[in-house]
């Protein structure tokens, strides 16, 4: 029993990283932009988030406060991701470059920048870059009172997580509300489904695509920061972060572009990714668990294309650029 609980808790920790990455990409893809640069974006988020917290601690010294560091890390990561996506947006939306190729270029660029910043900090600080224990604890602290956490079973599953998990859940719910219940969300979906219809209705395609892609990139980047500051223990670790962005892209498909699905979807994916450390099922090699998320995603992809259900499809104009005068 306790093993299952600890598995769930660990899955949630890693799932939180994925949830941010996925939510950001859902927002981006809802506008019809397939941003394959998530990997690079999350690298940048991780590196700049760490840098933000690190230099804040350096400046504030012993007076550094946890919440401020967390907010700064979030802001820095978001800004880095937004900047990266702004490049992508400018190229694909304004200059109409191929989305796949541009996304891959952003992936290369972003991982480069992330690595560079990580290394640069290490070199310029002369060795090891890590936060002090104070802040480190702040990033992985539980936010609910012990009384709640100590409730048997439920306490650990529901209340033992970091602030980032709850933030991600709130974000998912907010995005669900935004996409489903607000006018802007509706218009954004219209842009991703049928840009010519949206254009005819007087919706600014360019504005919606830019805003959604940039905000989406920012949100994805927070995921990279969360990984570095929680799982990696506030140390730059590019190896652990590699592949997470692609997993987020897979998760978007698995979630069928629905933010609420991302909550449980990311926990399941998180579980599959860390299961090899904790569970061994006879005859099934542990490494195979790691490919399960991708296999499942492929199956989901195939089934949806075969069933051709109208509600469960990628945004209809995903990956296509829009140019009004194309007649």
């Amino acid at each position: 029993m306790s093993m299952i609980i600890s598995l769930i808790v660990a899955a949630v920790t890693f799932g939180t990283v994925l949830m941010f990455g996925t939510l950001g990409e859902i927002l981006t893809e809802k506008s019809g932009n397939l941003n394959l640069g998530v990997e690079g974006i999350m690298y940048m988020g991780g590196a700049f988030g760490l840098a933000g917290a690190f230099y804040y601690e350096k400046a504030a010294g012993a007076a550094a406060s946890g919440p401020v560091a967390i907010i700064l890390a979030i802001l820095c990561a978001f800004a880095a991701g937004a900047l990266a996506s702004a490049i992508y947006s400018f190229l694909t939306i304004s200059l109409r470059t191929n989305q796949n190729v541009t996304g891959l270029a952003l992936s290369i660029f972003g991982t480069g920048v992330g690595q560079f910043v990580g290394e640069f900090m290490r070199l310029s600080e002369g060795g090891y870059v890590a936060l002090g224990n104070n802040l480190k604890d702040a990033f992985s602290a539980r936010i609910w009172p012990d009384a709640l956490v100590n409730i048997p079973v439920v306490g650990n599953i529901l209340f033992s997580h970091t602030v980032f998990f709850y933030l991600a859940v709130v974000l998912a719910v907010a995005m669900h509300f935004f996409l489903g219940r607000t006018r802007w969300g509706l218009y954004l979906r219209a842009v991703g489904e049928s840009p010519s219809t949206a254009d005819a209705a007087g919706i600014s395609i360019t504005r919606y695509k830019y805003l959604a892609t940039i905000a989406g990139g920012g949100i994805s980047a927070i995921g990279g920061m969360v990984y570095i500051m929680t799982t990696a223990g506030c140390v730059w670790n590019h190896e652990g972060l590699s592949g997470v962005g692609w997993l987020a892209v897979a998760l978007v498909i698995f979630c069928m572009w629905r933010p609420l699905n991302a909550i449980w979807g990311s926990v399941i994916f998180g579980a599959m990714m860390i299961m090899y450390l904790r569970v061994s099922i006879p005859f099934i090699p542990t490494e195979i668990y790691k490919i399960l998320p991708y296999v499942v995603t492929v199956i989901v992809l195939i089934i949806t294309s075969m069933r051709n259900s109208r509600d469960k499809q990628p945004p209809a104009s995903l990956g296509l650029n829009y140019f009004r005068e194309e007649r």
Binding site: L186, A198, D199
Partner: protein, 511 residues
Amino acid sequence: MDRENYAISMRGITKRFGEVVANDGICLDVRWGEILALLGENGSGKTTLMNMLSGIYQPDEGEIYEDGERIYIQSPRDAYANGIGMIHQHYKLVEVFTAAQNIILGLDDGKMDLRQTNARVKEICDRYGFDIDPTMKVYDMSVSQKQTVEIVKVLYRGAKILILDEPTAVLTPQETVKLFNVLRNMKADGKAIIIITHKLNEVMEVSDRVSVLRKGCYIGTVETAETSPQALTDMMVGHAVTLNIDRPKYDNPQRKFIVEHLTCVDAEGITRLDDVSFTANTGEILGIAGISGSGQKELLEAMTGLYPVKSGSIRFIDDAGEEVELVGKTPMQIRKTGVGMAFVPEDRLGMGLVGSMGMTGNMMLRSWKKGRGALLRKKDPEALANRILDELEVVTPSTDYPVRRLSGGNVQKVLVGREIAIQPAVLLTAYAVRGLDINTSYTIYRLLTEQKMKGVAVVYVGEDLDVLMELCDRILVLCGGAVSGIVDARKAGKDEIGLMMTSTSAKGEAR
């Protein structure tokens, strides 16, 4: 000034697309509380004109007044702001949204409240006699329901001036009756309504006045009560113009191509061809007339194996007199059975040619499979390209210059030249002179007639009745996917064909 009495007054509107003048100094007025029918054949510029009211295009010249005040419409948003709403022929709806979601798309009046929207939609529906469920998804709707959503969408935005582009083209007679009732209710409510159409019976039934366009020019406006279908036809198609197209007679035509009880249904289950039967003979140009979307495209594509056939038979009679069944064969299989069938499709660059390739590359589209082995043979296509270049006087920098960049006339010369070069027994053409200048058009007529005199069975799908009547030997008239009659082109009158194209009653008589 007189234009102050009008809801909308368009003055001297001119619009060009490249070399083509789509609208040439057109004037149009519509009053409040009236239904104006905008009548004209395909390509007469009706939709282009209305697109300038709805903000899709901006006029190159001319002015637009609303209530006597000059307005500028730069975008669909501007059009809505001026109370103008257009229901396009191709509905602009997001399929995965509900009716209500589509209706409020693009509005920015505060918080989104679908319940309130639903109530208002219901109110509009009750007021004008629509029936629609605001929570229904568009992909679950019939064509008529989608149209209703479009109309409600426009009304919801407070449009006072409504433009409907061929609204009845996709409706059943019952649905049409319902739509007309709604239009009359809106008219009674003081709205100005413009309905684009070429169905005369509907014009007579629903409109107050009729404005007629022909070939991009404004012909005139008449009160519906004071006119007749006959008079309108005359205005629409003009007096028979002598084009002086040479029409020699071929002796001893033989049956070459037999279509029997051909029925085709599209992916959405709509019948596109309905029990079509005819024969095409050697040494004859069979014209196919009809308003656009009457099944011309499907007919030709079914004959070439590109469109799925539900039932019926398409047979080719080879030189030995044997009949070859073509239904169920792919284009490649048809070609392999030795049926020499050439096809000049309507979508020249999207179907007949490879836009990014030069003339040589495009010649290969017919011959690329020729010869053994894996290698592509470029010699013959290149020679053919050069021959066509010379014979048809194609203007291009080289035979490798992408055909997409050629002018429309040259593109068509390349396509027709290639199709004729395969020395076909049957030559199918769709809108072979659309968008071409006079000279090129005559070149095409000449080429088709030459083919006919060589004993080829030529099928000419056209939109200009004058041309059809002078070029063809017989004319088959399609209406709503069914044959409404086959007439002798030398004897038939223009008005007769015009009526067969448009009126549903003619269909019954022909059967």
